[in-house]
Each structure stands twice: as C-alpha cells, then as structure tokens.
C-alpha cells in the first residue's frame, strides 16, 4: 500500500486523501474485545461456557470457526447461526460492526442450531 503514495506526487489533495484512507484502514486495535453470548436453539448441544471474549476486528467467519471447535462439530455437520434470533450474517461481516449494530446489554447474542430455525 505504501507504493500508492509515490504515485501521487502531483496533487497535494490526493495525497491528503490517501493518507486519510490509510488512517481509516488501520486495523482495529487488537486489545479491543467484545463478548459473544452463545445460545443453543432446538436440539443443538448446550455448552457449559456460553460467554466468550473475542477481538473486535475478527470476522464472523472466525466466530463460526470458533463455535465449530467448541462444539466439536465435524466439517460435514450443519451449523446455522443467527444474531438476535433474526438473521444470519455473512462470514465477512466484522464482529465490531455486528456488535455496534446489534449488541444487547453488552453482549452480541449468537444463536446456534443444527437446522434452520428462523424463517
């Protein structure tokens, strides 16, 4: 990305804009964490520990990976997840965005099921 800066010798404003973009692109501070609250739906196995702290910059795909590990699910096992019993995010949704938009009393509630639960 630093190579881009060289390309813009001519315009001071374009340079300022590129610098601004670099600032906004800087990764989310890894010390910032949010708490996920996993809730089983239907026949899904219930976990002893349901609250997990996770770096806010992680993607929802990482959450799926984490949850599969916690549940000892094999790759072929179906795992369906919902936020607030409502919708399934895409794996590239960033946890910090989901938390900002949908957190409930300090938790991002992730419902999980072995079959589609909410239509």
């Amino acid at each position: 990305m630093s190579a881009q800066a060289i390309l813009y010798e001519g315009s001071e404003e374009a340079q300022e804009a590129l610098n601004a973009i670099q600032t906004y692109k800087s990764p989310i501070d890894p010390s910032i964490k949010v708490i996920l609250l996993f809730k089983a739906v239907g026949n899904a196995p219930v976990m002893k520990q349901t609250k997990y702290k996770i770096k806010a910059g992680r993607t929802f795909g990482h959450v799926l990976h984490l949850l599969r590990g916690l549940l000892n699910f094999k790759p072929e096992d179906t795992l369906v997840t919902y936020i607030n019993q409502s919708f399934s995010p895409t794996p590239d949704d960033v946890v910090s965005n989901l938390f900002k938009m949908f957190a409930t009393e300090g938790y991002l509630i992730v419902n999980y099921s072995t079959t589609p639960a909410w239509g």
Binding site: E13, E16, I83, T90, G119
Partner: protein, 359 residues
C-alpha cells in the same frame, strides 16, 4: 416500461395491502434495477483446456447491478461450452471449481452484487495511477479460473442456492437495522420470500417489487417532490401525511442500513438515524463529515471581516474524496432516509463507495 406503482388498481390483481408506491420512488427504484455494468470475462489462458479456441476466450456482457455472479454463470458457461472449449476436454471441468478475480488480483465474492463489485473496483482504481484509472464506461475485466478455488477466501460455495441464503440473510439484517426486528420479512409467505430471489434471477422488476414493497420503507409522496425545509420539528413530516402509515415510513426507521466501502478495504458501519437530534434531516454530507472527517472535512470558518473584505465568505471545503452510490456521484445534500428507500440494493443495503478525487 412497467405500470407498476402508477397503476393503483389493476383489474387482474388484488388491491395492494399497503399504500401504493409513489411515482418518484418507483422511478428511482427502476433506475437502480435497470442499472447494468459492462463485464469482460476472460478465462485464465494457463487454465484453458486442450484444443480450446484461443481467439474467442473473451466474453463480453452487460450485467444487471442487482444480480450476482452465480446467476451469470449459466450464460457464461453456455458461451464457453458452445464456442471456446473442446467438447472432450471440457468434460473434466467442474463448475463448482470456477471462480473469478479482477485483473489486479482481487477475489470476487459470490455474495456481493455485481453493482457493488463494479463500484468497489472503481474506487480501488481511484487510488492507483491516474492514467490507468478505471473509467466508468470501460468494462470491468474479470479473470475466470477453472480450478483450485481459494475456498477459504471466497467464503461461500458458488451455488445460486448459497447466494440466495446470503441474500435473504442480508435482507433480514437490513430489516433489523431499520425496525429492530425482522417481522416484515418473516411475515412473508414462503412463496413470497422465494419470489424475491426469483425476481432477481429473472431480472423482473415487477415480480421483485410486488413483494419487496411490503418490506422496504415507504417514501411519503410529498417529500420526494419538494426540497426539504431548512429545519423542522422533531416529528417527521411523514407523520402528518395520513397516506403513509408511520410504521413503514422511510423517515421513521431507527437507522438506515448503510455500509461504507473504502478503496481495497475495510467496510465501515454506523447507526445512521434518518433524523438528527435537532430535528433536521440527516444528509449524506452530515454523515460523511461526521464519520470520515479526514476525507470529508467540514467547510472551514469564514475569515474575520476586514476593511477590504467586510463580508468574507467561508472558503469551500477541499474535495478530497467522492461518494459513489449505485455508480452515481451522489449530491451531498441527499437525505439518508431517501437514499435508503430509493437507492438501496435489492438486499435493502445502501452501499456507499468512497473514491479519491484527482485534484
């Protein structure tokens, strides 16, 4: 042109359960729907099967902005099978191994709409060498790979079915942001939910919006025809308009579902109320200067009056960046509520792509 939205009581259809959509909203929704982008699709020459016709490995198409790559695959496949590939050599190809990237090596996700892919490419090009910059009228050059998909990065399988699931998820997520629940979508019958996706698949505006208008917010007809008043009471004007039920009005949503895309990278989301705390309407300009002040600086204050210049004007804010919505350079005064109701994608999300101005 369709008569949808302008025909209030078509004899062959039951009367609409909600207020019929006004002309201006329908007009902009149709403009978005009919928006198309040029694509140039080229099979990676290293992966062409034996005996392919190399002179013809390029396929050009106009793809609807509201469509998705998995939905274009049948057409692309038909062309390649009919014209380019040798029949015997093509037998070993598996379509689930196919994937796309741009010339610059950006992987294309299956669940991003074509319009979003195109606009993202435009803004990413805006930070590169100006002379090589992507112009709005040139085709987006895509490389089609026939093997070894980087499944981890593509996130979803290339099937139309998983694309549909992602689409429905996005639709519900947008609904939740607007109203705090997804009742409008879960209240649809199964056939209606499926009809939304079929409408996109067949690129049929009427079929799609017959259902989608039960979900998307309504723009009060008085608003879209006149400029907004400079200031107003905390109660939105739609409340005075008895024709529009409060609970469905674009100015009554909790927040407008917006994603902001920066060149080559991150996606930003904020809670964006349609009306600000002081009762004024939230605008694109207000949103951008609040959340991206380094790219959209506020207008500097006017210099103090002097003998030679007793009435100084504030200098204009420098133009560092531009917002692109559905491929359109969007006026800063646009109301976010209106944008959310009229220029959102089929999945209900307002995608704002930010490019760098070339001063």
């Amino acid at each position: 042109m369709s008569t949808y939205g302008t025909t209030r009581h078509h004899p062959s259809q039951p009367p609409p359960s909600r207020v019929s959509t006004d002309y201006h909203t329908t007009l902009f929704r149709r403009l978005v729907w009919e928006g198309a982008v040029p694509l140039e699709i080229r099979v990676d020459p290293k992966e062409l099967p034996a005996n392919s016709d190399r002179g013809l490995e390029c396929y050009f198409m106009q793809a609807p902005r509201v469509s998705y790559l998995p939905l274009l695959m049948p057409e692309i496949r038909r062309f390649l099978m009919d014209v380019v590939f040798d029949e015997a050599a093509a037998k070993n190809l598996k379509e689930e191994d196919w994937w796309f990237e741009t010339e610059e090596g950006t992987l294309l996700k299956w669940h991003w709409s074509i319009g979003l892919i195109y606009d993202n490419h435009t803004i990413s090009a805006s930070v590169r060498v100006p002379s090589q910059a992507h112009s709005m009228s040139t085709p987006l050059r895509l490389i089609l790979h026939l093997a070894s998909p980087p499944t981890e990065k593509l996130l979803l399988s290339p099937s139309a079915e998983s694309c549909k699931q992602a689409f429905m998820g996005q639709l519900k997520e947008a609904d939740f942001i607007r109203w705090g629940n997804t009742k409008r979508i879960t209240g649809l019958r199964k056939a209606e939910q499926d009809g939304l996706w079929e409408g996109i698949k067949d690129h049929n505006f009427d079929d799609f919006w017959r259902v989608a208008s039960k979900v998307m917010p309504i723009v009060p007809s008085t608003r879209s025809q006149s400029p907004p008043p400079a200031s107003m009471h905390s109660r939105p004007p739609s409340a005075d308009n008895t024709a529009v039920p409060d609970r469905d009005g674009a100015y009554n949503v909790r927040s407008v579902p917006v994603r902001v895309y920066l060149p080559d990278g991150p996606v930003l989301q904020e809670l964006i109320p349609p009306i600000l705390e002081d009762g004024t309407l939230n605008t694109l300009s207000h949103f951008l200067t609040t959340h991206l002040p380094l790219l959209f600086p506020q207008r500097p204050p006017a210099p103090p009056p002097s003998r030679t210049n007793p009435n100084p004007q504030a200098p204009p804010a420098p133009e560092l960046a531009f917002p692109l919505i559905q491929g359109v350079l969007t006026p800063p005064d646009s109301e976010v509520a209106w944008l959310g109701a009229c220029l959102a994608g089929a999945d209900g999300w307002l995608n704002i792509c930010i490019g760098v101005s070339r001063g």
